[in-house]
Symmetry: C2
Subunit: 318 residues, 2 copies
Amino acid sequence: MADYADRLHNAIRIKGTPALVGLDPRFEQLPTEVVQNARESSSDENEIAAIAFEEFCKRIIDVVCSLVPAVKPQAAFFEQLGAAGCLALQRVIAYARKAGLIVICDAKRGDIGSTAQAYAQAYLAGEDPQAAPFAADALTVNPYLGTDTLEPFIETAAQRDAGLYVLVRTSNPGAASFQDHTEQNQKLYQKVAASVEEAACRAASTANGNYGFIGAVVGATYPLELQELRQAMPHVPLLIPGYGAQGGGAADIASAFDSDGLGALINSSRGINFAYNREPYKEQFSPEQWEQAIEQATRDMIQDLAAQTPAGRLRQKG
Amino acid sequence: MADYADRLHNAIRIKGTPALVGLDPRFEQLPTEVVQNARESSSDENEIAAIAFEEFCKRIIDVVCSLVPAVKPQAAFFEQLGAAGCLALQRVIAYARKAGLIVICDAKRGDIGSTAQAYAQAYLAGEDPQAAPFAADALTVNPYLGTDTLEPFIETAAQRDAGLYVLVRTSNPGAASFQDHTEQNQKLYQKVAASVEEAACRAASTANGNYGFIGAVVGATYPLELQELRQAMPHVPLLIPGYGAQGGGAADIASAFDSDGLGALINSSRGINFAYNREPYKEQFSPEQWEQAIEQATRDMIQDLAAQTPAGRLRQKG
């Protein structure tokens, strides 16, 4: 058994990049071919979309599995289709695991006591893909309800060698409305960060400067905050959304990494999933070449991160 | 079309009680008969549990639909079973709607932008049960990410005459860890409450002292806070968990109501679902009489609320 931080960082070293590909299927943006295939299999609109989401995500996984260490399916887009979508999510997660990818399910769950435990058991499979129906390696969780409500997630993650990413600082324009609430010069997100660092060190052996299995989501839209939070949580693997489509550039996120280029995953979802509809790739590739556009966008992101962040050292060593 | 607050309060008036029955199925506590029936239909453990959850919840609905205005299924317990559980959740929600109940899906979702919109479209059917796969009247949502992240939920709820319940103050022992973070004498939960009241008044016509469609979840374990929050959010329907199994009594929650006995739903989940395993009902009813135990526990809760809170006035008028 290897704990989540070891598995994650091994994968990052092997692939030589911290690029994390989000899987955010949106029906109206899917390639025509994928929608047509799905329409031949069902007449129910939600089922058609679920079949199309599954094919689309699996083909993205085929393209990126040799390039990146991890993928992050967004649960909301699947849930929008009801049980058919939930089945597609299960299958996409299982497919990504079989392809050797770390899977972080982005579901932002949070609840109290035995309800939190039920969510943990639903999504945290950790090292054994049979251990949970949505068999992810890690799950994003929301801390608003309180530190005690994170405990059932932490316990299950510890049992299963799975990981967690606690929302600390989000990348939306209104993130400050509650996260900046300030008591004695400590903003709420700073308090959450301190609590996550403390929990990470308590739950795992971090004595030699190792990372624990409790991570944090930190938006890339505020570079100075990112630097501050990296320092406040030295044993916490970071998940950084906001690269690409949400406006953050690679230089802004350099401070997320340690000197070995480890300690952070950088997420891009729409910028990769729908590269074929976006500049500059829609000039270079025809709509039928959507997989090539995804591959090129992924390679460009990897190159950008290697050139402008300490993640470049991963490749020099490899 | 009637807006959510009107539909909710009509239902409360007709049933003469603000009692809200939570649907929190837990496999290990299900009646033997229900588990046996399910085992005859499948050999897959998650499917067996999903079939059992569906039968159990439908039979609870049969018992309580003439007694209470609303039910609150807890999404986590269904998700724990994967897609099979999600299908059971869809069916339980649809069944409760057909039985004339208001359905509040307790999923505590929260995310940014188009992801929040996907969650809203997944769970908020409002007045049209065909409008969403998990076709609830209302959804619980988590505010940590910021006020802008509530907007997609509010827009969808407005379009569909659905309702929302924003987590303001939760009932767990560690609720204070972040919710009590205090800036200039204003605790975070008070700031969230002010924001919810403002949003409720902005999103709906509350000019004549009416309630809007944006509600709040306020734990019943802190009676003084409940009183304060009722006053801070005069146009916000409250959802009060923590009655019964979590330790709150009816007298503690009297301040949640307005003088007509409206403005609040009081939730009991385990105390009703598993009454047949609990004092005093397990002395009065055999295990086979689990539905009678549920009915008695529901009637006792209704009586308790009528005797000790302004909700008693609902019955005097009826």
